[in-house]
Symmetry: C2
């Protein structure tokens, strides 16, 4: 074993960074044995230098992250600041000064992954980011390495713990969205401003990263169709139950049936209770991968939290350090397939649509005609008298109203969109109460 230590600069010492520092200290011997050389914390960049940081030598603390990454004796930079800047510039500077980089920064990777990978390659260094997707769950490495000899066709995942906690609460208690969100906030599962989670931005960043790796194709954040879950109601859960389903916020990356293009999207969807993702409770994450030879694989675990995320960061740290000692690099960006990313309109799936309609003869025929005209084939229709409790309008139901629940066969999103637009124009259709995709069948 080499005795001269590898030097690590830690950028950020918050929820994740403080756990990385703690484990590096308490498990120093194990890390040294696994790497083949000791690792030393050479500096810790933070914003507030005076904050007490347990277990960290105050002499290591600096507010000058740039100077730290430029020191020249740093082997690995661990970036756990988050956000775009200064993280991006710091990572690029780290590569220019000969360091490898481990990051947990999904936002940055989803937006600028290609440029960062290029910077890593120019400098002959590694860029690893297992922690950026689904926290502790090994996912990037299995996709990038274990399945390197296979062809991934689909990735379907619950990759945001906050929204899964909220949806699970709604499902199990019948609570509405706001009530469940309040509980998530009180318990620390949701941040004061939950926008990034509930509007699907966080999941979309992860979908972009996953799709890129799974399909060997650059997928940018802008390529990911994104719908949040703030409009999911208790009544949607009631409909889901009638279908033998529950509702999850899913990140879905798919290869088109002809293999010639891919799509990536995030939205709430019904999935059958029999699907392994349906039983993912609380803030847990799980990702389902369908590949040609391996078949259906699932990876499950805690998707966030300081210590689980630090576990993923440290796994990368060990790999990157070993590569340094070997004078080698791990797999870099693999975007050779360069498949086009199709728009949401091309996505093919099934739909569950609830319509408020006039309660008179001929309505079903009218509605069915609209579906047929747009090439959307109907699987089942359920017609029922208006149920006040599931009304979204809050107004008392008008006499003579009924509801019509249509479940379609597989159709493109564009065809469904056209259908819904035409339905809205029917005067017997009073409103489209909800549209929910049905996945995982």
């Amino acid at each position: 074993m080499r005795t001269r230590p590898l030097k690590v600069a830690l950028l950020g010492c918050g929820v994740v960074g403080s756990e990385v520092a703690r484990i590096m200290t308490t498990h120093a011997d194990d890390l040294a044995a696994r790497i083949g050389a000791p690792v030393e914390l050479a500096g810790v960049a933070v914003r507030r230098p005076d904050k007490v940081r347990e277990g960290i030598d105050p002499a290591l603390i600096t507010t000058d992250a740039t100077a730290l990454v430029k020191r020249g004796d740093i082997d690995v930079v661990v970036e756990v600041i988050g956000g775009i800047e200064p993280a991006r510039t710091l990572i690029t500077t780290a590569f220019e000064h000969g360091a490898s980089v481990v990051s947990a920064n999904k936002a940055l990777l989803a937006q600028d992954g290609a440029a960062l990978h290029a910077a890593a390659e120019r400098s002959g260094r590694d860029l690893y980011y297992e922690a950026a997707v689904a926290g502790a769950i090994p996912l990037i490495r299995p996709l990038r390495e274990s399945l390197a000899g296979d062809k991934v066709n689909r990735v379907l995942g619950i990759v945001n713990g906050t929204t899964n906690f909220i949806l699970d609460k709604m499902d199990s208690t019948g609570a509405g969205y706001q009530e469940a969100l309040d509980e998530a906030t009180a318990l620390g599962y949701a941040e004061a401003d939950p926008t990034a989670d509930v509007e699907g931005f966080d999941a979309a960043a992860k979908a972009a990263i996953l799709a890129g790796i799974a399909f060997h194709t650059r997928v940018r954040l802008d390529d990911v169709h994104r719908e949040g879950m703030t409009e999911v109601t208790a009544s949607d859960f009631a409909s889901a139950k009638q279908m033998g389903c529950t509702i999850k916020l899913l990140a879905i990356c798919e290869r088109a049936a002809d293999g010639a293009s891919v799509t990536a999207r995030v939205h709430p969807a019904m999935i059958p209770l029999s699907h392994p993702l349906a039983s993912v409770r609380g803030a847990y994450n799980a990702v389902f991968v369908e590949s040609e030879a391996a078949g259906r694989l699932m990876f499950y675990g805690p998707g966030a939290g300081g210590s689980p995320t630090a576990s993923a960061v440290l796994g990368d740290l060990v790999a990157v350090c070993r590569n340094r000692l070997d004078g080698a690099t791990g797999p870099g960006e693999s975007a050779y397939a360069a498949l086009p990313v199709s728009p949401m309109g091309d996505v093919v799936t099934r739909y569950h649509i609830s319509l408020d309609v006039a309660d008179k003869p001929g309505v079903l025929a009218q509605v069915a005609t609209v579906f047929a005209e747009h090439g959307v084939s109907i699987d089942t229709v359920r017609q029922q008298g208006k149920d006040q409790s599931s009304s979204r309008s809050g107004e008392a139901g008008t006499e003579g109203e009924a509801s019509l629940v249509v479940v379609t066969h597989r159709a493109t999103d564009a065809a469904l969109g056209g259908t819904v637009e035409a339905l809205r124009k029917l005067d017997t259709v009073r409103g489209v109460a909800s549209i929910m995709r049905v996945e995982g069948e």
Copy 2:
């Protein structure tokens, strides 16, 4: 990209090997792009040279596997013959002649892993074997690399598809062991001689491999306590149901509470229906990993089959080929922790014990005294009149017999063994109908 191809020798072209060859041919371009150089099938060793092998150039076929691995121009040897010899000698010879090795051979790895790793290290080559445990499920790589910065405390897995199929059948249909085995055989899930599966030999080999990697300690096949599942009865499933449990054949690798030793074992056990492993159906495999920082992770997928297993082999092939091009090697054996492997007697768990007892006052007190004397604390006791249908003896129940079901708190296997021995000596205890461990709580 390098244009000179890397040369691969395939040893064995059966269920797994034929799929490896097929994918190497049909996905040659993808493999080349991911490796950075084309890979070429340079020879295929088999036993029966005249068998028609679709898609394989007959000129590549040879029965002289030794000559093939000695050729000197082979970069990677893929060993999918199975068994101890000639596989062991062929792999060692391959290293001596400068090749890296990918193997799916759990029996060999469990028996001689240390010697093979040493041979790989002497030659500066790689030995990879993701396919040896749980087929397509990425498990070795996540444990060895993703969790390299963490401390694994427990691995709990369903790692044999045949036995899971049988137990799942018994659970869902109420069938007995023989009936379920017959169905598994008819459907091709069980081999003509199912001993390796149903007696737990296959799972024990996997447990040895997993424990070795998880604990950075050499664990030999002989270190693994092994009990098969041929004695699990319909009545055990009925008892499990009453406990809110099902029965699975589990491979369990544990670090002792004081961290100073480890254990590895394979046996049927009750697990709560709420545990993620309880819902693993049919021939699927799943492995639950508990680690200090990451928490609870689960990996799920097809544990066998030609094409899933080939997926794992090819993932390794890509990694090993990249290492060759880099002039590097991946992680070798990590056995630095060298923890002692404790015997089964030291294992601590809970137990579900069914006793046939005389139906008279004072029996419970006698039985409870025996447990207390052996330091095994009782959680619950259920006393009931003898249920003929759950009798194992086949004889009509004697009048005046009752059954007593005891569920214990956690105790060592040694203490439980002593308790059972003493119970058998009580003349009010007519028989010990079953003893089943309770895991996953």
